[in-house]
Amino acid sequence: MPLEVRRGFVIFAAGFVILALIWAVRLDHVPPADFAFQNGTEPRTIDPHRANGQPEGRIVFELFEGLLRMLPEGEPDPETGLQALTPQPAMAESWEISEDGKTWTFHLRDDIFWNDGSPVTAHDFAWSWTRMLHPATACEYGYLIYEVHLAEQYQTSQVAIGDPVEVELWDRPGETPTSEANVQHFPRGTICYGILRNIEKPPEPKFEDGVSENERDNQLAMWEERWVYEVETVKEDPDGTIDWGEAGELRRFSISDQVASSPSVERTHGVLVPFSQLGGAQAVDDKTFVVTLNNAVPYFLNLVAYYPLFPVNQACVEKHGAPTWTKPENIVSNGPYQLRFRRLRDRVRVEKNPKYYKADQVSFKTIDFVSLESQNTAMNMYETGQLQWVYDLPTSVIEELRQREDFHSAPKLSVYFYKLNSDVPPLDDVRVRQAISMALNRKQIVEEVTKMGELPALSVVPPGIPGYISAQGLAENVDRAKQLLAEAGYPGGRGFPKMSLLYNTSERHRPIAEVIQQQLQNNLNIKIELKNMEWGSFLDTIQQEEYEMARYGWVGDYPDPNTFLDIWVTDNPQSNTNWSNEDYDALIKAASMEFDAEKRMAILREAEEIFVRELPIVPIFFYTSAEMAKTNIEGFAPSLLDMHPLSVLRYRDGTDRTTE
């Protein structure tokens, strides 16, 4: 290299470093928000029909608003500190219920608008509920409203011969009859309506033994795609009404492009029940929304106030498509706040929505939902005034924090337990399951390990649900446990096979598992091996039911015992315990049909009685919340569902985020 090049290079390199520094210095600084808090892991999406976690939920609750909204009622309970939240009028100002409890009529307010200025109507709700239930939206909360007429058939694509159906033709934007599907949440090609007359099925594939379940499912799915649906189509009037009685021509449809290559068969995305036309969620006029249920649901208003049933703006979603419609420059919403910007794994900034009908009562102008998983970092930022509320506190300092004025703690609707796989001997023996549960010392676990003020649990429904008293579980009793174990054929733990106890890798779960391991060893002489797995593998192992005992938790979706009990019925995808009890299944079913609140609670309690004697799971404790919020925030109080409506919070007069 010539000398000049080297000299030049040094100058160039120096210049490059300076340029890089200049580039790095111009940071886009944003002023702090009025209120900022720890929102846990980065929200997966802010689409109300796709969201499923708490961090997502907190954002959706503020951006959108449903017919009703969970808001504080009365003062917090002086004993527990719990603030009662009840469904209260929001987009709907009033509602009526039919005598049999199956028809709900909601009347919408007149002064409600989307933030683009267009009015919010009952049609928005009808369309949004349809979108939520459409199979391609794949909303995980669809099951919540399976009692709504046709909802379950629609979401799970069930059709029967003789049913009225809707057929979506293969003509979404960019599709040709032989192309790949243009996959979208709630896509709409041309829809035809008709009566399903026949399904022609090619011979069902036969399986040899030893074909994996996955392969079998795949083959079956491909086979179903080749079905040909014969539909007698009916005419749609220009105003959108359909005369289901007037028969039209017979057309044949199939999902498979090979089958549809025959000239007599048209290609379709699917044949579904026409939920938008005949389903249980209909707009009667612009301001009246009627919901028809198959069976009365006593907690229906709680569901209506839950975010998956919040409306989205049809024009916006159709114009931009998912997920682009959720970008700050596109999104149209109707809640107390509107989206300003999203910085990944940093924060979601929302600002007050000026078009909101109660905008004058919303206090904070801007709110930051800070994506923060580390407990220590969150605590540091709280202590230095960067955050005003943290809910995930480091265990190491909890004793100290407990003494402070800004510490809040209250029972939560959430239970921690160990699943027992009833397919694995000796866990198939109820005496063994009872022995394991009775041999534990839960008090030691909550007082010496978790230390957050958890309550030892012997049943599965947490306390605090109005009108319900949990079943009395089997009390801890080491002598009785030993006796049961002996009766089951393992006197003194002799001959008991070595079992493993599975938990997901976490500083929270390890010490609990260790204590349980020790207690079982000391009290029953059972040897348990601890096994930890990273979260994704852990979930997979449980879903494959390849475990013996596994740590799990459950958070209630709505304040009703049913949310803790109906997951254990035979073949519920959430159970994974292989436990099955006919009486239990029958009671849960009976409870879902019973509209008298008192009787219903009694039935559910009866079911829980069976459950706590059968013990397909070993309950350990009920969670309590432990959070810190600055003392100058008014309206902050823990609630059973661990929800905090942010639009009712405000700073005490004369203070702001910088003052205490």
Binding site: M1, V5, R6, F9, V10, A13, V17, A20, L21, W23, A24, V25, L27, D28, V30, T41, R44, T45, D47, N52, G53, P135, A136, A138, E140, Q155, T156, V183, D217, P323, T326, K327, R342, R343, L344, R345, D346, S371, L372, E373, S374, N376, T377, N380, M381, E383, T384, Q386, E534, W535, G536, S537, F538, L539, D540, T541, Q543, G553, P573, Q574
Partner: protein
Amino acid sequence: MRDVLSYLLKRAAWMLLTLWAVYTISFVLMRSVPGNPFSGERNVPPAIERQLKARYNLDAPPIEQYFDYLTGIVTRGDLGWCTWLEDYSVNQVIAQGFPVSATLAIFALVFSLILGVTAGVISAVYRKSTADVALMSAAVLGIAIPNFVLASLAILVFVFIIQLFPAGGWGTLQQVALPALCLGLPVAAYVARLTRTGMLETLTKEHVRTAFAKGLPKRTVILRHVLPGALLPVVSYLGPATARVLTGSLVLEKIFALPGMGSHFINAATQRDYTLAMGMVLTYTVLLFVMNTLVDLSYAIIDPRVKLQ
């Protein structure tokens, strides 16, 4: 100049080959790990899971997925939509995360170079003095202490005891300072030791003795005749240093709640975000490859003894 060009072309070819290998291995590894992006505490009914898989082409046979995705990357530079972070495409995530990580890395590197070289020169010139012993002990500590320990100490001192910096977050120079410091210190320590060794070696060279003999002031000799030669090992260390700063920021981003690429990388893996994890692996491969090439190139330019091959 021709050898530079042919060298660059050769490196580019190697990079493509490496990327392809990395893509293939990552693809196979990701598909063989249990779990999928749609599993959560609440199980998804099978019908719904099928819809979700169709959306991300995960229902196709693996070999078809392999080629479809590869074609998308090569022809359109499109890494696809994130499977977990579903409102974003991988390209958008990188576009948001890269500037943060780059800013942090630039500050950390510049800081470590300035501090490391200064310390190295001082301790070489005043060899065996108290300053030398102190600086070199500090350097040993700096190399030995992992940066998450350093970060905790720094937070304790600079956030709580002397309230100088905020505890975390991103957006102001103050917020960058502490993480950049923690990220740069171990590198600075290494640079200081390299500089010192290089200086001591060069100080014994004949041209240096000649310069002193000519009666040049000490300062001129050190800056003009000793330092350039002594810095060669430092330049060659810049490649590994960049790698260290880029990967080291994975931990620091978590501690200081910074929205950089590191946090995306870790979360993509644990959340089984196939496309995002792939995008991150490929981006890091490109970054490290390019940085190493640049360092090799500059090394060859500065040091006439080095030939590019």
